[in-house]
């Protein structure tokens, strides 16, 4: 489970002064459900997810991930989280297997468990044909599978995906979305951010719309349709975001 409590992040910018990238965000993600964080570029999605993955530290507020506080016990949180984004690249000079094993060891797995896990994941994701190939020689699809294997090697109960399909071709993107569904079906808590409406419509149990660092609205797709009287998520998104966007532009 993930519980964000007043999660906030401020940055200092030399030209623009203080920037509130994430401003008092509260939400809850349940096990076996997918929470979709929907927002435009620069809305605060990545910063929110980085704070949940303890890559960044909140300026105010906190989040509880699997019972651990992201501020107080960041290493425990990371041991229970699989984090995947298009920015999480592979070590190019390691083979696919070495790469996954490295993260397994960092997650404290002993050699016997690690071997079993790696063999299982490589078979399940159909990766055996390139397990000894260096990561810089892999195709985009193979790279994505290797990244997925990395997030799974320690079998974390929470999965965080930051725009995981960004810039990927349709087939590779489908591999990722299928994997996200599989995580949910296996009872994992899943949160993922995107600006692609169709992905949210297909995958998410709960949708949170974020703009200017603020979580503006939250609910299931059905609840949002009823509330805003629109069927298309894109229309709902525009209705929610426009007043804030206009105010922001005016500033």
């Amino acid at each position: 489970m993930i519980e964000a409590r007043g999660l906030s992040k401020r940055f200092q910018d030399k030209k623009r002064g203080e920037i509130r990238a994430v401003d008092n965000v509260n939400f809850t993600c349940q096990p076996g459900k997918i929470y979709g964080l929907l927002g435009a570029n620069g809305a605060g999605k990545t910063t929110t997810l980085r704070m949940l993955a303890t890559i960044l530290e909140p300026t105010d507020g906190t989040a509880i991930v699997c019972g651990y506080d992201v501020v107080e016990q960041p290493e425990k949180v990371r041991a229970n989280v699989g984090f995947l984004s298009t920015a999480t690249a592979l070590y190019r000079r390691l083979t696919a297997q070495e790469f996954v094993e490295y993260f397994g060891r960092l997650n404290g797995l002993d050699e016997i468990t690690l071997k079993k896990r790696v063999d299982g994941i490589f078979s399940r994701l159909d990766m055996n044909s390139f397990r000894d190939r260096r990561c810089d020689k892999l195709s985009t699809g193979m790279m994505q599978k290797t990244s997925i294997a990395r997030t799974l090697v320690h079998d974390p109960p929470v999965m965080i995906f930051d725009e995981p399909t960004n810039g990927l071709d349709i087939m590779t993107a489908r591999t990722i979305t299928a994997f996200i569904r599989e995580c949910r079906d296996n009872g994992k808590t899943v949160i993922f951010s995107t600006h692609i409406m169709s992905e949210v419509e297909k995958l998410c149990d709960t949708i949170g719309i974020i703009q200017s660092g603020k979580l503006l609205v939250e609910g299931s797709l059905g609840q949002l349709r009823d509330k805003y009287g629109e069927h298309e998520l894109e229309e709902i998104f525009v209705k929610v975001v426009t007043p804030h966007y206009v105010a922001e532009e005016a500033n």
Binding site: E57, R78, T88, A89, L90, L106, N107, R134
Partner: protein, 404 residues
């Protein structure tokens, strides 16, 4: 502190490093090949060039001397010199290297010598030009020998012994053992080499493991793993330290081998280098161990400092532009220690790099000033610890890790 986690990071970084062509070239191949290529290659070239210059029969122009036939005849009989007649453009001919020198015998020279009047024989040459200087030496030697003969004849005519001109001798005699003598001459070089190569060895991995990781997008991947940032930075640091010490060790080894090969090769012609070779062979494990023991905190200082600076950069190229000036900051004190007359004082023993460089000069001559060794080792350890502490702190700063 989990040594297991530090070890995991270290092993992974080592695997990546040995698979990276640039790292292998900068930390293994360059130090191994630099000295053989530079010293043996350069010496072989120098020997060949000098030999060729000595084999040449230089043309020397004779100016005047018509009334001094004996002197002229002596010059003409000189081995491996071609005496050519006077020409008005003699200066240009020397400058254009058509002739190597010109010798001017003053009018009435032989008669003046006989009358015990003083004259000046001038030799014109191209200063700094090797072949011209060889020709000058030959002519000058002939003229000096002629002068000595004249002096001897004059003394004999007056029944005076030759000792009249040399009432007593002045002689220098060395009492320092040979290793101390060569240590004083070449000792600074060892310290300088080890310090500089610790620096260059650490430089590439320091950039690759920090700015390189940011550039390749793996920083976020590793930060999302449960390893603490302190363990991560220490794993990286130990790999950089290994590269620094490895490069220095390989270089000293390669330098020793090159010089010993050189001493056989250069033989008589390379007196200085042969002495260096003998010196290095005489160094022995104790001196080498002492130098490396003192270099250890310096390598820690470099590794941590370079890593911290490179971490600020977003790209490999940016890191390069930050670290290249660091080479000069290191070279200056290391070179200063090699200057003659610069010796250890309590104040100098607190200046990083310079102190170790000066101490290495003493260590290789077998002189162990324990008070200085203690001060320098401890002060360098303090600097190194501070640098490592800053590196760990920097790795925990988001503004550094995610600089945009």
């Amino acid at each position: 502190m989990s040594m297991r986690n530090i070890g995991i990071v270290y092993r992974k970084e080592l695997t990546e490093a040995v698979r990276d062509r640039r790292t292998v070239v900068s930390t293994i191949l360059v130090p191994l090949l630099l000295f053989p290529v530079l010293s043996v290659g350069f010496a072989a070239m120098a020997v060949a060039l000098v030999g060729k210059a000595k084999d040449e029969v230089p043309k020397v122009m004779l100016r005047g001397g018509a009334d001094s036939p004996a002197v002229v005849e002596g010059l003409r009989k000189l081995d491996k010199i071609e005496i050519i007649p006077d020409a008005p453009n003699w200066k240009d001919q020397i400058i254009n290297k058509e002739i190597r020198a010109a010798v001017e015998i003053p009018t009435g020279f032989q008669a003046d010598v006989a009358a015990q009047k003083s004259d000046t024989v001038k030799i014109f040459n191209y200063e700094g030009e090797m072949k011209s200087e060889f020709a000058t030496e030959k002519v000058e030697k002939y003229m000096k020998d002629y002068r000595d003969t004249v002096v001897k004849e004059r003394l004999a005519a007056k029944n005076l012994p030759e000792a009249v001109l040399k009432p007593f001798e002045v002689k220098q005699e060395n009492v320092a053992p040979p290793e101390k003598v060569s240590g004083a001459a070449f000792g600074g070089l060892i310290g300088y080499m080890v310090i500089l190569l610790c620096m260059t060895g650490a430089m590439y991995p320091a950039m690759d493991l920090t700015a390189g990781e940011k550039e390749r997008g793996t920083m976020e991947t590793i930060l999302s793993s449960p390893i603490s940032r302190m363990h991560l930075v220490l794993g990286k640091f130990f790999l950089i330290l290994t590269a620094a010490l490895g490069t220095a060790a390989l270089s000293v080894l390669s330098m020793g081998v090159s010089f010993s090969v050189l001493s056989h090769y250069a033989g008589q012609t390379g007196g200085g280098r042969a002495a260096a070779a003998t010196f290095l062979l005489k160094l022995g494990p104790k001196a080498v161990f002492s130098v490396f023991f003192m270099a250890l905190p310096v390598a820690v200082l470099f590794s941590a400092t370079l890593m911290t600076i490179a971490l600020f950069a977003k790209t490999y190229k940016e890191a390069q532009s930050y670290l290249t000036p660091m080479t000069f900051i290191v070279i200056i004190p290391a070179v200063a220690a090699m200057l003659p007359g610069v010796e250890l004082t309590p104040k100098l023993s607190l200046i990083p790099i310079l102190n170790v460089s000066l101490l290495c000069k003493e260590l290789v001559t077998g002189t162990y000033h324990w008070n200085f060794i203690t001060i320098i080792f401890l002060s360098t350890c303090v600097y190194a610890a501070a640098a490592l502490f800053i590196a760990i702190k920097m790795f925990q700063r988001e503004s550094v890790l995610f600089r945009s």
